[in-house]
């Protein structure tokens, strides 16, 4: 257990930890924005946009994340797209998670009582106004619980990025095992780091739930 505090091991571990957090936060931001946009597409009055949203969700939800990372890391450079490995990982992870966020928001939109949208329409609001001013703010409360499981899964999924040249916790684990430390000790510390991250995300969502809760 003590190996973490020998030589420069702690610095490596810390960098991996910070990189995991950076990658997760950037992907979460992308997933949230893209997912909300896709959800708006999926309930919009324009059939083409609905079809586009459905196609995106079907495509990304049914593709293994490993394959997405593979496609982005090895498929984009031959097309002349050159970003850092971190950006590639954010694109893959964000695009993948966006499809889950979209489904969560869409089901949340369906739970908002019909009268709300009807009242908004009878005031003469357009689709965009109904959605952004009336329906989405109310849907946000009901989607918090399913959204929390999506965003707890996100840092876990980010581990795969480590296998595609992003220097995060998984790559730290690889480096440690190459240096010959006991796999159990390494696993213990990496597990602690991930448990810490998912506990933080869970606490954050519980805080949001208590802040946003309304008596219905």
């Amino acid at each position: 257990m003590g190996f973490l505090f020998e030589q420069d091991n702690f610095a490596l571990f810390r960098d991996g930890f910070l990189q995991t957090i950076e990658l997760s936060a950037l992907s979460a931001l992308l997933a949230l924005l893209l997912g909300t946009l896709l959800a708006a597409f999926r309930v919009s009055p324009v059939p083409v946009l609905r079809a586009f949203g459905t196609a995106w969700v079907t495509l990304f939800r049914n593709t293994p994340l490993t394959l997405l990372f593979f496609a982005v890391t090895f498929g984009l450079p031959p097309l002349g797209v050159h970003f850092s490995h971190l950006v590639f990982a954010v694109l893959a992870l964000g695009g993948y998670t966006a499809s889950f966020v979209c489904e969560v928001i869409r089901s949340g939109i369906n739970t908002v009582p019909l009268g709300q949208a009807e009242a908004a329409r009878s005031l003469g609001m357009t689709f965009g106004q109904t959605l952004t001013l009336v329906v989405l703010p109310q849907a946000a409360r009901t989607v918090l619980a399913p959204m929390s499981s999506v965003f707890i899964a996100l840092p876990r999924n980010s581990a795969i990025a480590g296998a595609f040249s992003v220097g995060e916790l998984y790559s730290a684990q690889q480096t440690f095992s190459e240096r010959g430390y006991s796999i159990f000790a390494i696993f213990f510390w990496v597990a602690c780091a991930y448990l810490l991250i998912s506990a933080t995300v869970a606490t954050f969502f519980r805080f949001l739930e208590s802040r946003l809760a309304v008596v219905r």
Binding site: P78, F127, I160
Partner: protein, 282 residues
């Protein structure tokens, strides 16, 4: 249902369009078609300009041994998935039984195990198993890792399914003198299974997708085979990474869609006819 039909749930978000709104929607429709076509054209042009449609690059898929490799990879994926699915459902049932136990130590132990494995990244788990126990048999590292993670998730699904059965059912069974085991086995679980089957199969789709993590521990599954094909340079044309993604991706998507269709079918079957729950009110 065609995806072009308006979903009933969303109809309330906008009025039935009048002539002006219809014209506006048509305009948006045309603009977004143009946008999407432009996007597709851009992707196509980028692929074409970089020689990704060069026949040489697609050559490997004509060879019998490559086709055989893909088939073997597919079979290896399905084998790992089958084993992991069977084991994870068994483990899930056991852990759920433990979580619903009347004995506090058993309940705590099982809840602890479930929470731990649900919070661990699957990749870290599989790689740790691979280095610690299964350096020679990577399949078992993959299968056991998948089993532990998905078993924990299945346990949560089963537990919440059993808890969602109306309380009166269990109470009535106790009242006529059944034991805990009988209540569980003949009253609660049969009713719970119907409501939790869709999410259990949904988790099986996740299990199937996660078999692709075998790539990282060099298990010879579909994606690993794809990488192997892609890392053979094709004379002047370069590495066929994009053709491989375009071949392997649809295979995964088709498998997942088949499983999802199965879940839909079972869900629809549970809801129809005599199986339908009575008393929609309350």
């Amino acid at each position: 249902m065609s995806i072009l039909n308006r979903p009933a749930s969303a109809g309330v978000l906008y009025d039935a369009p009048g002539p002006k709104a219809r014209a506006r929607y048509r305009l948006f429709g045309v603009l977004s078609v143009l946008g999407i076509l432009g996007l597709l054209w851009y992707v196509f042009a980028a692929l074409d300009a970089n020689g990704q449609f060069d026949p040489d690059l697609w050559d490997p898929f004509q060879y019998n041994f490559v086709q055989q490799m893909i088939l073997d990879g597919l079979l290896a994926t399905l084998k790992a998935f089958g084993l992991a699915a069977a084991f994870s459902l068994t483990l899930g049932a056991l852990l759920a039984a433990g979580q619903l136990s009347d004995h506090k130590p058993v309940r705590w132990a099982c809840t602890g195990i479930v929470q731990f494995f649900r919070a661990m990244p699957l990749l870290i788990l599989i790689v740790a198993l691979y280095y610690a126990f299964f350096a020679k048999q990577s399949m078992w590292a993959l299968v056991i890792g998948l089993t532990l993670y998905n078993g924990a998730v299945q346990a949560e699904i089963i537990r919440s399914g059993v808890n969602a059965v109306p309380r009166g059912q269990g109470e009535a069974a106790y009242a006529i003198g059944m034991r805990k085991t009988q209540v569980m086995a003949s009253i609660l679980v049969p009713q719970a299974v119907r409501s939790m089957l869709p999410s259990m199969i949904g988790q099986l789709v996740v299990t199937l997708k996660d078999t692709s993590l075998g790539l990282i521990i060099t298990y010879q599954e579909l994606l690993f085979v794809g990488k192997k094909i892609a890392s053979q340079p094709m004379n002047a044309a370069g590495f066929p990474y994009i053709p491989v993604v375009l071949v392997i991706g649809p295979i995964y998507i088709a498998m997942c869609l088949l499983l999802t269709a199965l879940a839909r079918w079972i869900e629809a079957r549970g809801r129809r006819g005599a199986n339908r729950r009575t008393s929609p009110a309350a």
